[in-house]
Symmetry: C2
Subunit: 193 residues, 2 copies
DNA sequence: ACCGTTCCTTAACCTACCTTAAGGTTTTTT
DNA sequence: AAAAAACCTTAAGGTAGGTTAAGGAACGGT
């Protein structure tokens, strides 16, 4: 039983949909439950779906040659997640997506999305705006990485995602801001002093 | 005299335009020449245009509290540049855009772009795809920043932008990959040994 | 209710990268 | 053609952040 209402509500914050578009979307969308630690996308597979999180929490990350994980993105209720690069090029992804909590997503397959774009330009608009916002977020993150100290990056993270602070393990936050968990631990201690 | 042909050609690599759309675009676009070191956007101003580079080279960068510049993006022939965040929110930009070489751009004002979106959904599509590609690029850069050493980042930069290597001053490349020019100088020496 | 992970912290030592300073070369401007 | 910027390099000393190792607390699965 798909709870598509929250997805539609989300889209209509950006652009209204007519009944036909809503209907078309409802037909294309499928739902999926993921357990804690279960993969939604595995390194080496081609990303074939855009995923909208209904509840729970996902992370997308890269595993480097040394086996260290580097978190690129978290997604909670109301967020989208996918390896857009892999999705568009049909190349195997270098990323993994898995669940930090039991999670439920709605997903649209690439071909279905293209179909929606063609039949309902509103979706072009919605995903343009969505991607623009995500792009601006990534820009800010690049700037922070090349211009700020780890402590500042941590504080900026807390400011931007206050609700994630006591929901996500510290080790994941460390990975997201680009430091080791040991060093983040040190940063916290310094902040308390 | 606007050379809009190269812009249209660029767009049509992604989506064909009908005559009306081409015509509408031609009316909205203006051209502008910028001297070396001249600003196209200055820190504190609101970014009101999307800029398409016809020839030359621009950079977008942030100046931090210490006065150090951090390059977020370069744009050469065929590239787009704007502070999308500022453009969308009508908030003053924190970035500067200036010219590393004498440069000529075509530009579209925000309101005109919105008008194009409404009348010709093809532009929604084009800018969606454009932004998706830019987003993927930023994602890769974030990953490199949090997972790679400066030497690796330099090599990846050369691989991705081989044509920029002997066109852009070293100090700008250093700023882009997030190290001091002195350290990049050292990296180069090590690579030659 | 238990056991096994995962999670967080501390501390000693190590390294990638920054800072400051200086001198030489190339490019731009006049 | 000269003067002024901008550019690149070298080197010494400093600091942010990594590595390794180890112990304890909290959690998740059965």
């Amino acid at each position: 039983m798909k709870d598509i209402a929250s997805l539609i509500q989300h889209i209509e914050k950006i652009i209204p949909l007519d009944d036909e578009a809503r209907q078309a979307l409802a037909i294309k969308v499928t739902s999926k439950k993921i357990r804690r630690r279960q993969y939604l996308l595995q390194d080496g597979d081609i990303c074939r779906h855009y995923n909208f999180v209904l509840n729970g929490c996902l992370r997308m990350y890269l595993v480097d040659e040394k086996g260290t994980e580097h978190v690129l993105q978290f997604a909670i209720e109301g967020g989208w997640i996918a390896d857009i690069g892999s999705l568009h090029t049909d190349q195997p992804s270098h990323f993994c997506i898995d669940a930090l909590e039991p999670t439920e997503v709605l997903r649209i397959a690439k071909e279905d999305l293209i179909d929606l774009y063609v039949k309902h330009p509103a979706f072009d608009r919605y995903f343009r705006v969505l991607t623009e916002n995500a792009f601006v977020g990534m820009q800010q993150r690049v700037m922070q990485n090349i211009s700020s100290t780890a402590e500042t990056r941590y504080l900026l993270f807390l400011e931007k995602y206050p609700h994630l602070f006591n929901r996500i393990p510290l080790v994941q936050i460390a990975s997201f801001i680009g430091v080791t968990p040991e060093f983040l631990s040190k940063i916290r201690r310094n902040l308390m002093a």
